[in-house]
Structure formats: C-alpha cells, structure tokens
Symmetry: C2
Subunit: 165 residues, 2 copies
DNA sequence: AATAAGATTCAGTATTGCCTGAACATACTG
DNA sequence: CAGTATGTTCAGGCAATACTGAATCTTATT
C-alpha cells in the first residue's frame, strides 16, 4: 500500500505557483509551469499520476504539457524496469535547453529582419539604416551569447569528470 | 487637403504582420506588434491617427498600446512645434531597450530561484544542487550578456562622436 | 469663454486558448 | 484471451484578454 501522499509544504507550493506564473508570461501554460516547478523541486522522477495529484490537474493536462515540455527539451521521460509507468524529470543539463529556447526565439526575430531588406529595398535610407543597425546588434549579441553559453558548458563539463558520476 | 493615404505596399504589410505575430508570442498584443512593425519601417514619426489607419485599429487601441510600448522603453513620443498632435517613433537606440527587456524577464526568474533556498533548505541535497547549478548558470550568463550589451553600446557610441562623452 | 482637436478611459463584446471529463488506444498480467 | 493499468486524444465549457465605439478629459485656438 503506497503511503498516503503528504501534501506539499505550503511554502513549496507557493514557490511552484510563482514559477508557474512566470512560465505563463513566457508563453507556456500555467500547468506546464507548475509541472516544471514541481519537477525542479523533486528529488526523484515522478509519474504522471503523481504529477497530476501534486499539481492538481487532470491527467490529460499532464500528458499534453509534459509532451510540450519534452518537445522543448526541458523535460525527459524515463522508465523504470519492472514498472509500466513513465517517469518524468527535468533535463539533465537544465540551463542549456532553457537558454537554447531563448536563443531560438530571438533568432526568429533576426530572421524576420533578414527577410525585410528585399521587400524594403526602396525604403528611405533612414529605414534601411535602422534595419541594418538592429540586425547587426542582434547578430552581435546572438554570437556573444552563444559563446558565453559554450563557455559555460565547457566550464561545467571539466570539473565533473574527476570523480565518476 | 492631405493627400490620399497610399495603402501600404503589400509586401510591407506582410512583413509588419509577421512582426506582429512574433510580438504576440513575446507577450505583446497583436496591435502592439503591428505598431512596432509599422514604426520600424517608417521614415518619419507618425501621429496616432495615422497609425490607426495604417494599422487599421481603433484610436483607443493605438493609445493604450503606444503607452505600453513606451513604458517598456521601445517607443518614444515626440512633439512638433506648431502641431498639437503627438508623434511616435521607435526608441533612438532600439537594440538596447529590446535587450534590456529580455534581460529583465530573465532576471525575474533568477530572483525566483534565489528565493527558493530559504524555503527549500530541507530538501534533498540533489534538489539543492539542482537549484544552485541553475542559479549559477543564470548568474553567469546574465553577467556575460550584460557585458556583451555594454560592449555593443561602447562600440556604437564611439564612431559617432569624435571625442569622449 | 466657446469651440474643437486630440488623446485617454471605460464598459461591453468577441476571440482566443486552457483545461477537463470522457472516450479511445495500447500494452501488460494472469 | 479477458481484464486492467497507463497514457493519449478530443469536444465542449469556461475564463482571460484584446479590441472597439462611445463618453470623457485636456488643452489649444478663435
């Protein structure tokens, strides 16, 4: 018999809720954010059912939202031998996919700007200059940020190998 | 008599629309995005009425949305002597506020994580480690990005004025 | 002062997208 | 194979938000 589920600590639930709210402003659904928050504070992978009760959402929502989080690289599903259920946990190297997501969105805007010139060739020099500047800034920062990300990855990959996982 | 307003070039309107759609995914309203897009391709500041017709939205929407864009630092309002109307244009150094916005959002998440430890002190070491790592990554990247932004600002400020600030 | 132009606020409508229960699919167990 | 556990998909209800027309406010012009 599984032991009665202890409801989450009030302060924990609160933190999760704020994370969820934040995620909502970032284009996720509230429940998606709750799942992320819950898993961020989980010390073991969690099953769908468990997530559903913890986050008090329907299994349907958990199913769709976990898939969405997985598609974006924030979440991984794992199996346990001798257990039919699927378990969910946050991506191993969490910061990377998080940042990759941001990079993507922002690359999308760059691409939009890149498409412009062809259309806009006959616009005033002023406009052309504005577009060029904006695009240049984006490219510069995108590159710099990509580098920083790479540096972080390196830095964190070196210290680990000494002791084994 | 003001000369008949030429409707926007189809390709231009199209680009604006894609920009608007993008802005929508970034937490702005569609009309906010349209205004931004229109101004990005404008070779002169535009009045509220003009924006309303160009973007085919009510003056009410233009009013609220320009305010919102202004509050976020993306848009400036200017006056012309001998003209009662207010004119709108994109921020002079556009990339900076754009990026500042992104930075903000992401700082907000860092702050969320910083609040966690107090609550979560009794969580498993694994959780604590995950939180610490994530926070460290955020701090690192936040700092790096801030630096990059500063570098860009410097680089673009030097060419313009010959001597120092 | 009266009028009018310009801009903002507000209340109501319409649209969007989230979330859920229930039906459905799949695969394990005895 | 029957029965059951697990997960997914779907249609509909509901809440949140954007957008608008109309009313209101502010300030220049006569």
């Amino acid at each position: 018999m599984p032991r009665r589920q202890v409801p989450l600590q009030a302060s924990t639930a609160d933190l999760i809720e704020r994370i969820a709210l934040f995620f909502e402003t970032e284009g996720f659904s509230r429940i998606g954010g709750r799942i992320f928050g819950r898993l961020l504070l989980a010390d073991a992978p969690m099953s769908l059912d468990r997530l559903a009760t913890d986050v008090s959402a329907s299994k349907a929502s958990i199913s769709t939202e976990t898939r969405s989080l997985e598609r974006r690289g924030l979440l991984e599903r794992i199996g346990k031998p001798g257990d039919r259920r699927v378990y969910y946990q946050l991506a191993a190297e969490l910061p990377m996919p998080t940042m990759a997501l941001r990079l993507d969105r922002w690359r999308r805007f760059s691409r939009l700007l890149e498409e412009a010139p062809a259309d806009v060739a006959r616009h005033s020099p002023l406009v052309r200059r504005r577009l060029d500047d904006t695009l240049a800034a984006h490219r510069f920062l995108l590159a710099e940020f990509g580098d920083a990300l790479e540096r972080w990855r390196r830095r964190n990959e070196t210290p680990t190998p000494a002791p084994r996982s």
